[in-house]
Amino acid sequence: MSAKEEFASRWGLILATLGMAVGTGNIWRFPRIVASNGGGSFLVAWVVFLLIWSVPLMMVEFAFGKRTRKGTVGAFAQLVGGKWAWMGGWVALCATAIMFYYSVVAGWCLRYLVAAVGGRVLTDSQGVWEGFTGSWQPAAFHLLAMGLGVAVVLAGVSGIERVAKVLIPSLFVLVLLLTVRAVTLPGAVRGLEFLFTPDWAALGSVNIWLQALTQNAWDTGAGWGLILTYAIYMRQREDVPLNAALIGFGNNSVSLLAGIMVLCTVFAINPAARDEIVGAGNEGLTFIWMPRLFAEMPGGRFFMVFFFLALSFAALTSLISMIELAARNLIDAGMRRRQAVLLVGAAGLVFGLPSARSLAFLHNQDWVWGVGLMLSGLFFALAARSFGLEKLRSEDLNGEGCDLPVPRVWSFIVGVVVPIEAVTLMVWWLWESRSWDPEGWLHPFRPETTGTVLLQFAIALTALVLYNRWRQRRQEGVR
C-alpha cells in the first residue's frame, strides 16, 4: 500500500470514522424515537446497547480491517475462508444499496440548505416539500451529492481525512449552537423534563429495548462494514479499543445533543403538536416541521441555515464512507482507485434515481436494507467467532498500540450476546411489519412488508452464494 493510502494521524482516522457514524439518523431519527418511546427510560436502554452492541462490534470491524487491510469481501475471505466470502459480499451489498438512496437523502439536505440560505422561510413547508419531491429537483440534488462524494473519495484517504477534519468539528459546533439556542427558548425546560423524566416501569417494555437496540444498530454504523473500510488505512501501531469506544460515545453524544435540540424546540414553540410532530416520520419532522418551528423562532432564519448545514455535513461524511466501502472492494478485485470510484459513482447515480423519483421506492429500500444491516452485524459476530475471539482480542485489540485493554467479557458479548441481539431484532422487525399491512404483509411488491424483505434477501443471498461458488471453482481450476 502506498504511503498516500494511510491516515496521517490518529485524529484523521477518528474524525473520518465519526463522520461515517454521525449521519442523518442521529439528527432526524433519534429525537423522534426517544420521544415516542418514553423519553428517559429509552435513554437507559440506549446506553446499555451502546456497550453491548455498538462498541464491541466496532472493535471487531477495526480489528478485521487492520489485520487484513482488505475490504469486506477480502477480509471475510481471509479470516474465515473463501467459502464464506459471500458474507463480506452481503455486508458490501447492504451498505452499497443504502448508499444508492442515502445520496438522495443527502441531496434533500443540500436542497433545503440552499433554500434556507436563500432566505426562504418555509412557512408553507408541506407544500414546498410536496412540490420538491414531485419535481426533478431530488434527482438533480442526488447528482450533486453523489458528485461531491465521488470528488472526495477520488482524492483517496488523504481527501477523506482533509474533508473530515473540517466538516466534523464544524458539525459538532453547529449542533452545539443549535442546542444552546433551543434550551434557552422560553418553555424549553418542558422538553428537557420530557426527555429526562425516567419512567422505570416502562423499562419492562420489550419494545423500548428493541427500539434502543435498533437505534444503536442504525445510527452508530457498527456492523455496516464502514469502520472496517477506514481501518484498512489506519497506521500499524494504532490503537483499536480506545478509538472504537471514542467513536461510539462521540456518535451518541451528537444524538443526545440532537434530541435535546429538537425536543426543546418543539416543546418551546408548539407543544400542542408534539405527538403530530413526533409521528410525522423522519422527513416530516425534518423538512416539514422543523422549518415551521424555525419560522416562529427569534433568529430562526439563521438557525435554520445552521440546522440544514449540520444535516448536510452529517449526510455527506456518511455518504463518503459508503462510496469508499464499495470502491475499496473493487480496488481489491484489481481496479485502480479512479476507475473504481467512478464506477461506484455512476452506479450510485443510476440506481439512486428510482429513490429520487419515488418516496415509496426509497422507503422500501430503507426498510429492506435496514433489516439487512442486522444480518451484517450477525455476520461480523459469526466471522469473529469462527476466526477466534480470544485470538482477535489478544492480538488485534490488546496487541500493539493498545490504549485501553479489553477484558475477556468482550468475547462473550461478541460471541453470544450480539448474535442473539441480531436474530431477535430481525425476527421482531419482521413480526412487527405484519401489523403495518395486515392484508398484504407477505406481498413482495409493496413498500414496507415482510414479503419484500424476504424476496430481496432471497435474491441477494442466492446470487452472492452462487457467484462465490463459481468464483471459487474457477480459482481452483486455475490452480
Binding site: R10, I14, G40, L43, V44, V47, V189, L192, E193, L195, F196, T197, P198, R237, D239, L242, N243, A245, L246, F249, G250, N252, S253, L256, G401, D403, L404
Partner: protein, 37 residues
C-alpha cells in the same frame, strides 16, 4: 424542572458526554506519550 428529571439529566449526559470527554483525554495523553517516545 423536577428533581428526578434533573438528576436523570445529569446522570445520562454525564455518562455519555463525560464518557466521550474522558476517552478523548485518554487518547490525547496516549498520543502525546507515543509521539514523545
Amino acid at each position: 424542572m423536577t428533581t428526578s428529571a434533573l438528576v436523570f439529566l445529569l446522570l445520562v449526559c454525564g455518562l455519555v458526554w463525560g464518557g466521550f470527554v474522558v476517552l478523548l483525554v485518554r487518547a490525547v495523553r496516549s498520543e502525546g506519550r507515543k509521539s514523545a517516545s
